[in-house]
Amino acid sequence: MALSFQMDLISPADDVWSVTRLTTVVKRLVEGELPALWVRGEVTGCKTYPSGHCYFTLRDSMSQVRCCLWRRDMPRAGKPPADGTEVYLLVRPGVYEAKGEFQLNVLRILPTAAVGAGQRELERVKAVLHQDGLLDPGRKRALPSLAGTVAVVTSTAGAALHDIITVAHRRWPAARVLVVDARVQGEGAVEALARALGIVNRLDGVDVCIVGRGGGAREDLSAFNTEPVCRALAAVRVPTISAVGHETDISLTDLVADVRAPTPSAAAELAFPDHRDVRRALDDLGARLAGGLGSRARLGLERVDRAGDRITAAMATVLERHHHRVGRLGAQLDALSPLRVLERGYALPTAPDGRVLKRRADFQPGAAFTLRVADGQVPARAEPR
């Protein structure tokens, strides 16, 4: 009995909490510990007040909780639900101190029926695309190694376009980007995207087509899961890249496109060649061009073995001297030109029909031929043997 005796007494030394202090601490605990979260339940007693705020109760078989949909959140959250509707709510739990009430501040409302229907539609579209072979791996085309013109189907108002242009600018300034504007979310987005993809097929010289948009809420990406958009994408005549939302978002266009990119920037990295690679390829071709002609010249001219050695040596010297790439290549080409070989006193005998006379047997005794020397041609005749 000692315990109840003690509990019945309050000594002036005891710490007595005020209601306000208590509710303040509870509020801090609730709002500090609980993040924004999704909750599922049935709506009852939904009422919108003249202030524009909407209040209702969310319940399941055991419990219920008060919910507030503030007027300022309404445009993003969606319409206040009718009584009896089963919904998913994205909420931030809170405590209304003036009444000591635990309540949920509503940020998003999704009727569960709509979510279920959305999922069913997604499965249906995927099934028909699969049936028509549009998801076959064998259908995938390779991207061109050197795209000059890239069509981009997206919203000109979106962040995706900016990201793509930024990457294009850095990687491949020789590119041409053709933007076909389309709404990517909301009413009319499906038709706009399908139409824009159709326009890509009417543009000349397009090498690759990127379709996509930046990140957004899941339902904002829904146009990219629709059958008309997927079919229009499959009908694009050039290789396609789908880049919808963030890394973790996968849409049906990702499955239909030849290549999926995690983001619009990544799509641009795939579409546009790097100018440094192209410059390297040109350097390599220039060197092989010079080397290729050098070997032809050897076959056509006498004693070119030694000349070739000298050319190689000269080239090495030139290479050392010229660090500048273009200057270096020019020097190589010049050194290897057969005209330059003629400069050193070699002559090229040709028959009247232009054929190069390479062998002893090519010279008929008494036959006329032409000697090509550095500054022109000299008529000549083979002496009888």
Partner: protein
């Protein structure tokens, strides 16, 4: 006007033919000259390149037009 891609493709073909041993010297000379011209053209195009961004608009007549996009 050829594109850089076309120049590169043609250059690769020219080099392949020069590296094969069945080309007459005259033909080799002609290929070489074309190769040098292509190489120079591609380099100049690359140096002068300026990214072109255009929007495609469909007119009421159904014709497609392009317009430079401000960046």
């Amino acid at each position: 006007m050829s594109t850089i891609a076309e120049d590169l493709a043609r250059l690769e073909e020219i080099v392949r033919r020069l590296e094969a041993d069945d080309v007459e010297l005259d033909a080799a000379l002609a290929l070489f000259e074309e190769g040098v011209a292509r190489l120079r053209a591609a380099r100049e195009r690359l140096a002068a390149a300026d990214l072109k961004v255009q929007t495609v608009l469909e007119g009421a007549d159904g014709e497609l037009r392009t317009r430079d996009l401000d960046r």
